[in-house]
Every structure is written in structure tokens, then in C-alpha cells.
């Protein structure tokens, strides 16, 4: 399937070097939210789409936050990429659809992003789910 990226286009100016004071403002905001998290345990999240950023700002923020130890990929109606930054408690959460197009992007300041842990609703039926699989195994072992 032909993709947009395959069309040969010469990019003359993509603005990637354009950095404004916005990147520093966002990083300061993250620092404040981290302090709040440490003090009260309250999680927060910044919608990257809502920020008026030049292309260079986005790269500057990503570069400053760096890369951490945890990297997770969730498959739920398209992939979601979760990357811990070098700053503990700051996570980069990017939601893609099946065509690898970005749907939404968040900087989450939290112990662990909400989408990772198993939900209580699922846990309620989890034991039953496993038990039925165990029963199936037992029956097929018996028949050997």
C-alpha cells in the first residue's frame, strides 16, 4: 500500500529548529506537577496537542526529559506507546490508531499511567477466566 511517506518531496523548511520560550514554560509546569505528586500523591496529565508549540519546542521538551527504564506497548484498537522519561514519575503516553497515525499525546505525571494496570472490573472475572482454562487443560490431560 502506498504511504504518504513514500512520495518524494523535498522539504525546504520544516521549522524543526524553531524553539520558543514555550518549551521552558512546559518543563517548569511539569516540575510543579511533580512536586504536587510527591507531596499529595495526586496524578496529573498534560495534553500535548493543547500546547501551542513550534516543532523545535516539541523536540526540545522530549530531549530534556530524556529516556527512562520502562517502555510499554499496549495493543488496544491500535498501539499505544508508553515511555518513561529519565525523570521519575514523568511518562510520555502516545496513542496511535491502526494506521500508525497519532490520535493523542499526553505527558503524564504519575506513579504509573492509568492505562497500564489491570482494572478492578476485569479482575472480578479474571479468576473465573483462568479457572475455566484450567478445567479445559485437566480434561484434555485426562483424555491422553
Amino acid at each position: 500500500m502506498n504511504r504518504l511517506d513514500d512520495i518524494a518531496v523535498t522539504v525546504e523548511y520544516d521549522g524543526k529548529d524553531h524553539v520558543s520560550g514555550q518549551s521552558l514554560a512546559v518543563l517548569s509546569e511539569i516540575a510543579n506537577l511533580l512536586e504536587n505528586l510527591a507531596r499529595t500523591g495526586e496524578s496529573s496529565s498534560i495534553d500535548v496537542r493543547s500546547l501551542p508549540l513550534f516543532p523545535g519546542d516539541y523536540a526540545a521538551i522530549r530531549e530534556t526529559l530524556g529516556t527512562g527504564e520502562v517502555s510499554a506497548r499496549i495493543n488496544a484498537l491500535g498501539p499505544t506507546q508508553i515511555q518513561e522519561t529519565a525523570i521519575p514519575g514523568v511518562w510520555w503516553v502516545t496513542h496511535f490508531n491502526d494506521n500508525e497515525e497519532t490520535l493523542a499525546e499526553f505527558i503524564e505525571i504519575t506513579v504509573v499511567p492509568e492505562i497500564i494496570p489491570a482494572s478492578m472490573d476485569d479482575l472480578a472475572t479474571a479468576r473465573e477466566q483462568l479457572q475455566s482454562l484450567i478445567r479445559e487443560r485437566q480434561q484434555s490431560d485426562h483424555s491422553l
Binding site: 525546504e12 495534553d47 494506521n99 497519532t102 490520535l103
Partner: protein
């Protein structure tokens, strides 16, 4: 599909995980420009909403709005919203046709009277008793008036339903009018655009389902969350506009460097829509980013607003003819008046009239 189950139960039955649902809520909150703190509220509300009945009426339209909404090969995150509603009638998408389809509509109307959501795309022709567009032998006007009676709210999808659109353009041979000109006693949300951005349609539905209310609207009845800013206000090419760097043709150096398209006819300054931020095809691009000036398709009368390729500061009508006629008329009148003045003067001299201050004062 069971009508009285909640969305959460419905998704669970369909095997759509809790994480997918959370992802959907986060994405939609972002699209509706709501802060991330609203995500749990949206998740809770949508999770518990009982799927309301929705009736979609297509009138004098090109089906572009339905296409915009359904154009995807795989189920997308946006289409999840359609699990939250029970689309009981859409004569293009539904499986049934003919009398069976009309019967489905009548049943839905009766069962959810006063509570169903009515979505309309396409304008309504009024000329010659509205016979220019009929469904099952009934005029659009007739069907709209009947179905609107039991609707809780109406969403006019697309510029045709919101403002009249293409059929309404000069000379409007069918007498096309928007929904708001016919229905006056129901809340109407105008989601304009030719077509509207798909996520704007689903965003409005999500708002209605989450909060049970109409979102805040602008003076033309469009949701402020998506139509509050003009394209010009959020355009990434603004720095070029401010510096006076304009593309003069479609293929010159300026165009290739991504300069402002004002001189090529961009209607961005007078157009309100979410194209510059939300963009099209899941955030891929929008007309200006692809090098084409904005047409202003979410505004009323955009088809009659002069050429798409002449700048906003130019006139929409030809001034030349009027100018020519005016010069001729002025010349005739001026010469005649001047000669009259001359005659008055010579008459005054002949009759030895005295000169007064008033004569010297002039006009």
C-alpha cells in the same frame, strides 16, 4: 443490540477491552479540547450511558458527510462512539430498504418519543411544495417536520443542513433552506463544513452523551469547542503572513517554501473551523498545509463569496461597468450643470445684478 444496556456492558460483550475504552475517552477529551482531568468523568458518563436512539435523515445532500464519517477500512477509535448510540435509521448505511426501512424509523420514533436524537444532512428544498427531494414519496419538508416533533435535539451535519450549502447557492433553483429555517422549537447544533471533520461530528455526539446537554454554541449555532477559532488564528503559516511572505502562484518559490496563501485566495481569516488544529485524516494535514488556500466551507454562502482564488480584500462583483457608466453620467450632469451656471452668470451680468458675499462663499 440490546438498547437498555450501558455502553460499558455493550463494549464488554463485544470484546472491546477496558483499556480501549479508556484510550477512546482520553483521545476524545483531547479532541474536544477538554483538560485531561475530565477523562475519568467522560469514562464514567459514557460507561453508564444508556444507548439513545438516533435517527439520521439524509435530504438534499451529496452523501459526503456520511462518507466523511465512515471512511475507514478498519474500526477506528472514533467509530466507538457509534457503539454508544443506537443508529435506528440511516437510509444509506442501514441493511433494510424500502418500506422495511421506513417501518424501522417509525418504530424507533414511537419507542423513544421525545428522547431520540435527530441528525440531518443535506438541505431541504421548498420550491413547488418541496417536490425536488422526496423519500418514500414524502417530501423532505414533510418528513423533517414530523420527525423533529419527537426529537430531543437536532444536529445539522454539514454546511447544507446548517446553512443551505451547495443547493442554496445562486440561483438556488430548488428553494433550498437549512434545517434551522424550518424547525424553530428544538435545540439545533450546526456542525458545518463541506464535509465537517469526522471527529468534530463524533465529538459533538460524545459531548451530548457524556453531559446530556448541548455544547456551548456560537452565534451561528456551531459548537464553540471546534468553531471558536478561525483558521487564520491557528494557522501554522501565520509567521509568514505577519512577515508579508506570500505565495503568488501555486508553484513558485514562495509556495514551495510554505508561505502564506492569502494572495491565492485563502479565506482562513473569515472561516471558523478546527482544520488548523485537529486537521484531517486523523491529523495528517489540512488544505493549507497541502498548499491549497482555505475555501471557507464551514461558513454560510461560501459558494457565493466570490472566487476561491481571489484574495479576501478584493471585490466579489465587477466594478468596471458601474465605473464606466458613472463617469459618463457624471460628465453629462456636470457639463449640463456647469453650462446652467454659466447662463445664470451671464443673465445676472445682463440684468446688472449686484455681487453679494453669498455668491463668493461657494459650496
Amino acid at each position: 443490540m440490546r438498547k437498555d444496556e450501558t455502553l460499558a456492558e455493550h463494549l464488554q460483550r463485544q470484546g472491546i477491552s477496558r483499556r480501549s475504552f479508556l484510550k477512546f475517552c482520553a483521545t476524545t477529551a483531547s479532541l474536544m479540547a477538554l483538560p485531561p482531568t475530565m477523562v475519568p468523568t467522560i469514562a464514567k458518563a459514557l460507561g453508564n450511558v444508556r444507548r439513545p436512539s438516533v435517527i439520521w435523515l439524509s435530504f438534499q445532500e451529496c452523501t459526503g458527510c456520511t462518507e466523511s464519517l465512515t471512511r475507514s477500512h478498519t474500526p477506528t477509535i472514533e467509530s466507538l462512539i457509534f457503539n454508544a448510540i443506537s443508529l435506528d435509521y440511516h437510509h444509506t448505511l442501514m441493511a433494510a430498504s424500502g418500506t422495511a426501512a421506513e417501518h424501522a424509523r417509525e418504530t424507533a420514533m414511537k419507542e423513544s418519543y421525545g428522547k431520540y436524537l435527530l441528525i440531518v444532512d443535506g438541505s431541504i428544498p421548498l420550491k413547488d411544495n418541496g417536490l425536488y427531494s422526496t423519500i418514500a414519496g414524502r417530501t423532505n419538508l414533510d418528513m423533517l417536520q414530523e420527525v423533529a416533533k419527537g426529537a430531543a435535539a437536532i444536529v445539522s451535519v454539514g454546511t447544507c443542513a446548517a446553512f443551505g450549502g451547495i443547493p442554496h447557492a445562486n440561483p438556488n433553483p430548488t428553494g433550498a433552506v437549512p434545517v434551522s429555517e424550518i424547525i424553530k422549537d428544538k435545540p439545533i447544533i450546526n456542525v458545518s463544513g463541506c464535509p465537517p471533520i469526522p471527529v468534530v461530528i463524533t465529538g459533538v455526539l460524545t459531548h451530548y452523551l457524556t453531559f446530556g446537554t448541548i455544547p456551548e454554541l456560537d452565534s451561528l449555532g456551531r459548537p464553540l469547542a471546534f468553531f471558536g477559532d478561525s483558521i487564520h488564528d491557528r494557522c501554522y503559516r501565520r509567521p509568514f503572513y505577519d512577515q508579508g511572505k506570500f505565495a503568488k502562484t501555486f508553484d513558485d518559490e514562495g509556495a514551495r517554501s510554505g508561505w502564506c496563501l492569502y494572495e491565492l485566495g485563502c479565506k482562513g481569516p473569515t472561516t471558523h473551523n478546527a482544520c488548523a488544529t485537529v486537521k484531517w485524516n486523523n491529523g495528517t494535514s489540512f488544505p493549507i498545509e497541502s498548499g491549497h488556500p482555505c475555501l471557507g466551507c464551514s461558513e454560510p454562502d461560501f459558494w457565493d463569496a466570490g472566487s476561491f482564488y481571489k484574495p479576501l480584500s478584493t471585490s466579489t462583483a465587477s466594478v468596471g461597468q458601474w465605473a464606466g457608466a458613472a463617469v459618463v453620467a457624471g460628465a453629462v450632469a456636470g457639463a449640463a450643470y456647469g453650462l446652467y451656471n454659466k447662463k445664470k452668470q451671464s443673465d445676472a451680468v445682463k440684468s446688472h445684478e449686484k455681487l453679494t458675499v453669498k455668491d463668493l462663499e461657494g459650496s
